[in-house]
C-alpha cells in the first residue's frame, strides 16, 4: 500500500512583485517501510516540499496538487485543519541544526513529555504524569541515550549536536510515526556522528518498519542508506528510481552531472585538476527559466527544452527529460 502518494504538487510563493512558482509539479510516492532519499542542491525546494507535506507552511505559500493521498485518504478533499491533524498523527519530522530546533529555555525532558500524545496514556490524570515520564525514558533508550536522568534534566545547549538530534528523533518517535521526514539530519555534524545518526535511522526503519524520507544534498552519502531516490532540481522533479538505477544508470543529464561531480567518480583525474561540474549555478527564485529549469546549464539541451518535459516511466525508473540518457547504457 502506498503510504504517501503525491502527484504534480506545485507550491507558489506570493510576493509583492508577483507569484513565484517555487515547486513545479513534483510527484512523490512512499511505500510502507521504504527509505527514500530526496536529493537536490540547496535551493532546489526539498525542505519546502517536506514542509508542505507536514502542512506547516505559513500563508505566504500556496500549495496545489493533482493528487495528495495519505494511506488512501484523499487529503485534498479535507479542510486544512483536518489535513494537519491526520498528517501530524502519523508523520514526524526532524530538522538540520537540531540544537536550534529545541526550545532553549525548557529542559529536554519537558519537551519530550509534551510530545507524548495523550491517547497513549491510560488511567487517571494523577497516574498520567508517571506514565509520561516512563514513556520519555523509554524513548531516550530507543534512540541510544543510556544516561536518561542526566539527559532529562539537561537544557539543549548543554548537549552536543548529535545528542540533540537523538533527542529530536526521540521526540519524533513519541507519536509512533509511520513516516519520518528527515530534513538534512546530519548537516553540520562530524562524520562519526553522522554515521551514528544514519545507523540509528536505519535500525528504526528495520525494527519498526518506519518509512523514512531522507532529504539531503549529498547524493553519494544517501545511496548507502536508501532503497529509492528522488532527485529534484530548482523546484522541478528530475528523476526517481531505485538507488541502483539512479546510481548506476542515471537517465537524466542532471543526475549524471551530480554523480560525476563527486570525488569518487573522478578517481582517475590527475591531482589538483578540477572536478567535472555543470557550468553556471542554480537559478534564483526571481529568475527561473521557462520549460525545463536545467535548460541553460544542460549539456544536452535543445530547442524543445523551453517546453516543460513530461515524465516518462521506464520500469519504475521515472525521468523528466526530453532527451534521457537511456540509449547510452
Amino acid at each position: 500500500m502506498n503510504l504517501l502518494d503525491i502527484r504534480n504538487l506545485s507550491i507558489e510563493l506570493k510576493t509583492k512583485t508577483g507569484v513565484i512558482l517555487a515547486i513545479d509539479r513534483v510527484s512523490l510516492t512512499m511505500k510502507e517501510g521504504e527509505v527514500r532519499g530526496l536529493v537536490g542542491e540547496s535551493g532546489s525546494g526539498k525542505s519546502i516540499l517536506a514542509q508542505a507535506i507536514m502542512g506547516v507552511l505559513d500563508d505566504r505559500w500556496q500549495v496545489h496538487a493533482d493528487r495528495f493521498h495519505w494511506r488512501n485518504i484523499d487529503l485534498l478533499s479535507l479542510t486544512h485543519q483536518q489535513q494537519k491533524d491526520i498528517i501530524s498523527q502519523d508523520v514526524a519530522m526532524i530538522f538540520q541544526e537540531p540544537m536550534a530546533c529545541l526550545d532553549p529555555s525548557t529542559t529536554v525532558g519537558e519537551q519530550l513529555e509534551e510530545a507524548v500524545p495523550d491517547h497513549q496514556l491510560t488511567g487517571f490524570f494523577w497516574q498520567k504524569n508517571k506514565q509520561r515520564k516512563l514513556a520519555v525514558i523509554n524513548l531516550l533508550h530507543k534512540v541510544g541515550i543510556k544516561n536518561h536522568t542526566k539527559c532529562y534534566r539537561s537544557y539543549p545547549h548543554q548537549l552536543t549536536e548529535a545528542f540533540c538530534q537523538r533527542v529530536m528523533i526521540a521526540i519524533a518517535l513519541a507519536k509512533k510515526p509511520l513516516l519520518l521526514i528527515a530534513d538534512e539530519p546530519t548537516a553540520a555534524m562530524e562524520t562519526t556522528n553522522q554515521g551514528q545518526i544514519f545507523r540509528l535511522l536505519a535500525s528504526l526503519n528495520q525494527l519498526k518498519n518506519m518509512s523514512i524520507l531522507l532529504i539531503s544534498h549529498d547524493l553519494e552519502n544517501v545511496t548507502h542508506w536508501t532503497n529509492n531516490i528522488t532527485v529534484m532540481y530548482s523546484g522541478q522533479f528530475v528523476e526517481a528510481g531505485t538507488t541502483e538505477q539512479i546510481f548506476n544508470t542515471p537517465y537524466h543529464p542532471y543526475t549524471q552531472a551530480l554523480l560525476e561531480s563527486s570525488p569518487k567518480a573522478n578517481i582517475e583525474l590527475p591531482p589538483k585538476s578540477r572536478l567535472t561540474t555543470l557550468p553556471g549555478s542554480i537559478p534564483v527564485l526571481q529568475h527561473l527559466p521557462i520549460g525545463c529549469r536545467l535548460g541553460p546549464r544542460c549539456p544536452r539541451a535543445q530547442k524543445i527544452c523551453v517546453q516543460a518535459p513530461k515524465t516518462t516511466n521506464y520500469h519504475g525508473h521515472q525521468v523528466n527529460c526530453h532527451y534521457p540518457l537511456k540509449e547510452i547504457y
Partner: protein, 342 residues
Amino acid sequence: MLMFTLRRLSLFFFTMVLLSMLTFSLRYFFPGDMLINLSGQINANTAELKQLAIDYKIHESIFSQYWQYLTNIFHGNLGLSMASQLPISTEISTLLPATIELSIIALTIAMVMGIPLGFIAAIYHRKKIDNIILTFAIVGHSFPVFWLGLLVILIFSIQLAWFPSAGDISLLFEIPQQTGFLFIDILLSNSPYKWQAFNSALAHIFLPASVVALAPATVFIRLARTSMMEVLETSYIQAAKTKGLSFIQIIYHHAIRNALIKMIRHIGLQFANLITFVMITEVIFSWPGIGRWLIVSIGQRDYTAIQNGLLVLSIFIFVVHIFTDFIYAALNPLAREHNHGS
C-alpha cells in the same frame, strides 16, 4: 547559580562604591560653605561650626573624609534638610516608600498592559489588530507626561470627578506610619475604617500610576511585539508545530517564555526612565514622594537634600536592575552558567 549571585553582588558592591564616590565629590561642586551644605545647619554659630568640622573630619585627608562620609551614611546620619531643618533620614524614610509604591504599581500596570498587547500584535502580525495596537503604542509614546497628567486631572478629577487629583489618601483617614508603605500600613492598622481607607488609597494612586505607566507600556508593547515576532520565526517554533502541538500550546509553552527572556533586560533599563516620569508626576499630583521632594529641594537650593536624595534614588534604581537580572537568570538557563570562552 551561586556564581551568578556572587557576580551580581560584587557588581552591586562596586557600583555602590562608585556611586558613593560620585555623591561624595558633589560637596566640592556645590556653592556656599561646604560644612553647612553637608550638615544642613544653616544657623550654626562659630563653636558649632568648629564641632562640625571635627565631626566631618574636614581638615583631615580626603580619604578620612570619605571614610567619615561612608560611616555617616551607615549610621543614618545624613544631616538636616536646609529647608525644613528636619533630619534627612526621617524625611527619606517617610517619602521613599511612597515613591516605591507608585513606581512599582506603575511598572506593574505598564507590564500587565504592555506585554500581552505586544504579544497579541505579534501573533496577528500585519493584521488589523496589529495596526491598531501599534498606532496606540506610537500615539501613547508621543504624549508628554506632564501634559498627560494635567489632561487627566482636568477630565477625570475636575470634569467627571471620578478620582481625586492630589495626595495619596483622603485626609479623613488617619493611618499610623509603621512601614511607610501606605497600603501595608492600612492593612496593618486596626482602624474600623480600614477598607474605606484602602479604597481611598486605591482611588488616589490610580491616576498618577496610569499616567506614569502609559509611556513605559507603549515601549513594552513594541519590545514585546518585536521579541515575539523573532521567537515565532525561530526553528524551535517550527519544530514544535511539526510535533503536532496546537498554536495556543506553542504560544504558552515555548513562545511566551523565550520572548520574555528577550525583553526582560530592557524592562530593567526602562525603569530609570520610569523614575523620571514618577518624579514629574509626583509634582503634578502632589504625591508625597521623594521625587517631588527632590525637585522642590532643587528649587530651594537645599544641597543636603539634593545630595542624599540622589544617592537614595540611584540605589533604588540599581537594586531594581539587579532584581531584573535575577529574574532574567531564573527564566534563562543560558544566563545562569558562567560563559567563559563561549
